[in-house]
Symmetry: C2
Subunit: 522 residues, 2 copies
């Protein structure tokens, strides 16, 4: 149905502009102030609307959707508090370089000054996580604002755009559809340091550190050729928005999260070239430990930032280091680890079982925190798959991200590996998985504590934690029953407390077409 342009309201012009700009998926949790947008979605075909029960699910899903599709989705959020509920996963999306467009309802322009209960400073809430924020001032401005917002979200590597829509700008007539605005091309990399970067990569005391879009199969192959030609090491950052890996691809390690391990891994390197990555720093500061993780005196050359032309940077790096036509180093051979002996689940036995279970073309959404730190070696030879990390460190990203990934890539199996503490932040995501029949196998690692914090108590110098501190980091009183919880939201589930059970559960979950949850008890 085509709207009559003369009678089109602002909300209708918004939906038409979004669709024409390529935004056709909306993760929503609307309220009264968004009802005209809902009504416009009702009669204008083409927008897939996915309802979530909490806004953190909506924003995390938009993040995962962008990572797997390269396309911006929109969220529909209810005024300042609705945006606030989605803020932490927008923080994660921002750090991941994902494009997200938030449509945030606002009171009618004339109503704001009355300071109704839901009135708040929406722009103030939006700015800390947004690259672009605008409040539309009239129905006729909405279409142009939307086109600019999509353009901002699509700007490499992907940005957060927040468009605030006072309800009168949605319901008033005068809406005008705006043509799509192309995002600017990725800027060139820093050619002024290209010669130095080529020279720096020479021998095993040099490192090519990759991040962001440098982690596609093609770019990794280029990096593998550079490694073969120069003898340099290659690593990625600890958290990657999307890393392509598995059999036949150039395998790449990550700079470890635990600070002592990170210092040790980075100690050998005197010359480091950054392509899409940032210079390694500690996730947190710890008393008496360095914040900069590279060796003293190491030379760091920033060849290309996350938003730059990373393929071009790697290609020119390769051509200047004799890597053209060379066979890449570090190509992962197909192969799975030995089946672990029957017995209780440990991070190591889980890693082996995952390495044997990951299906071809899977998308692994990894929020496994402490349990998953050792997953990489045993999964390196699994069939080709994508691996997605939490890039902003705010837990609760995993299950929402899996929703977005599943909607962006419906033909792929999503494997969401989630710590129990993280899972509880956005557990409402299970319902949306069931509602949309998404092909996601969720594995909850139930160690029944914020295990990472037990370690960090020691790292910050608290040697002997007492019962009150331990209690503040424990999830075992009462025990969370994730099987019941999943079923309560319509998701099939089972518990696995040993290796045999997890092996069987993974097989069942992966064979199951739709959401399936496995509570893996450590």
């Amino acid at each position: 149905m085509k709207d009559n342009q003369d009678a089109m309201n602002g909300a209708e012009s918004l939906v038409h502009t979004l669709l024409q700009s390529g935004v056709d998926t909306c993760f929503s949790n609307p309220g009264t102030s968004e009802m005209h947008f809902v009504a416009a979605l009702d009669h204008i075909p083409g927008m897939r609307s996915v309802l979530t029960l909490a806004e953190g699910v909506a924003t995390g899903a938009a993040d995962g959707y962008y990572r797997m599709s390269g396309k911006t989705a929109c969220t529909l959020l209810h005024l300042g508090p609705g945006l606030a509920n989605g803020l932490s996963n927008l923080h994660n999306a921002k750090k991941a370089g994902s494009g997200v467009l938030n449509i945030v309802g606002e009171h009618a322009s004339t109503h704001i000054e009355l300071d109704a209960p839901l009135t708040s400073d929406i722009q103030g809430i939006a700015w800390p996580v947004s690259h672009w924020v605008r409040t539309s001032t009239s129905a006729s401005a909405v279409g142009a604002d939307a086109a600019e917002a999509v353009q901002a979200a699509n700007t490499a590597p992907g940005q957060i755009a927040t468009m605030i829509l006072p309800s009168d700008t949605a319901w008033n007539p005068g809406g005008a559809v705006h043509e799509p605005l192309a995002a600017p091309p990725r800027p060139d990399f820093d050619r002024s340091v290209l010669a130095a970067a080529r020279e720096a990569l020479d021998g095993d005391d040099s490192l090519l550190l990759l991040g962001g879009a440098a982690l596609t199969p093609e770019n990794l192959e280029t990096a593998g050729r550079i490694a073969a030609a120069t003898g340099c090491a290659i690593l990625s950052e600890w958290s990657n928005a999307r890393l392509e890996r598995g059999a036949g691809r150039v395998a790449i390690g990550r700079v470890p999260y635990p600070i002592d391990q990170a210092l040790k891994v980075l100690a050998p390197y005197r010359r480091i070239v950054l392509v899409g990555a940032r210079a390694p720093i500690g996730f947190f500061a710890y008393p008496g430990k360095p914040a900069v993780l590279t060796a003293d005196g190491a030379r760091i050359i920033g060849l290309a930032g996350a938003g730059d032309d990373l393929a071009g940077a790697l290609a020119e790096l390769a051509s200047g280091t004799g890597a053209d036509g060379v066979a890449p180093a570090h190509v992962a051979a197909a192969g799975v680890p030995p089946r672990p002996q029957q017995g209780p689940l440990t991070p190591d036995s889980i890693a082996a079982l995952l390495g044997r279970a990951i299906p071809e073309n899977a998308v692994v959404v990894d929020e496994s925190i402490t349990t998953g730190r050792a997953f990489f070696p045993d999964t390196a030879g699994a069939p080709p798959h994508s691996w997605l990390n939490n890039c902003g460190g705010s837990i609760g990203y995993g299950m929402p991200c899996a929703i977005g990934a599943a909607i962006a890539a419906p033909e792929r199996k999503i494997l969401a590996l989630i710590g129990d503490g993280s899972a509880m932040y956005t557990v409402q995501a299970l319902w949306t998985m069931a509602r949309e029949a998404l092909d996601i196998t969720v594995v909850i690692f139930a160690n029944r504590s914020y295990r990472i914090l037990r370690g960090d108590l020691t790292n910050v110098g608290v040697g002997n934690a007492g019962p009150r501190a331990i209690d503040m980091l424990s999830l075992d009183r009462p025990t969370l029953d994730f099987v019941q919880m999943a079923r309560s939201m319509g998701v099939e589930a089972c518990q696995a407390a040993d290796c045999d059970a997890l092996e069987q559960a993974l097989a069942e979950g992966i064979a199951h077409p739709g959401p399936y949850l496995i509570e893996a008890v450590l």
Copy 2:
């Protein structure tokens, strides 16, 4: 144990200062940057720490705690994203006039510029919901900052104070305990309009509109005497942080939420005196409907704002209107409604069953949204009880608020009346209820939709909602099983789908010492 003052670190000075300032309850979800605070709580006795699985539960609990104790609790939140997750219930607390002190961890001062994954603009996130924000600059400043923060939170009617604690200010030595700072007394009411207010209240076309601390039994009795002496009507705002009601107390109606009903209720009044309330405005703007709800030309006299001396205002209003010594009007007689006939649950039959079930001295936390709009008449004659509303309109306040109320008033039964959509926002609260064995009966009204939005679709002028719009407002695919969900978090539960079952379930839940959930299926 007394710390050695010379060796005290910032975190220890913070805990000591908080305790000396009367802050002895902490709703927490800590992370690495808060570990020194956790360690200080571990070895300094006196602070009750309540772990929550999501920060919205922590901030909502602090709100409920303040409402029932009049005391400020602190929250412990992990950097900007942790604060962000708690923001919407801080919005609600701010609108309720509750005092809350947020302790938000931050990276070490030297670490912030490195822009680690969890780095964000914490002050920027805090300001939209806070009256007071400060980042401590050294360990020696932490104690004084904390004393000021508590003072700010305790300022009438209650304010949101957010103290940001860089981890080095927590772990460095040099902490100094600061003495408590008294909050300023409530300012006098506006005596310049006292004579006008006395004159205005005269006959049934005049209204005394009450809010905030005017809703204590004592102040309500004064209002009832004024009503008896002058013939004025008395009403409260739709949402009240805490209203004391039940048999023997002066009963007061509320200005309805639905705009057409509100306009009708307020139409008769030509002169309105505000004591602790604000002039009535619409919760939302609707096309073609007024935003100001009072009759055209009505004279509105603001005698006392929410933070002012409301008891004094009412006393002087009474003494000038001949109300001293008069018996108050509108005193609720003890009595319960007739038992509804067996049959399906409706808002009316639920109201009657609640009116028969509310135990003496209960605290009713009301987030029942559409189902609960008609609860007041049938519950007016129940034994004396407190009634708490969502004042900021951001759903998900109810179960967290019940946690705080239960901890503040352990001798009282908490009855939490929650819509299903609202419940899912902060469903993690159930686990904390179980962990702390809180005496809360939760009733979930499962109408399986965002019912309020179905109505508002019509109100904003969308006459014939189609399937896509209806689907965006429906919670029935799949059905949420709140019984399983409660049990998965350690809370006993049952389902009630008709009047007999709900009557029995209420009796069981209220007799049960500890948390109990009833899924009332409409």
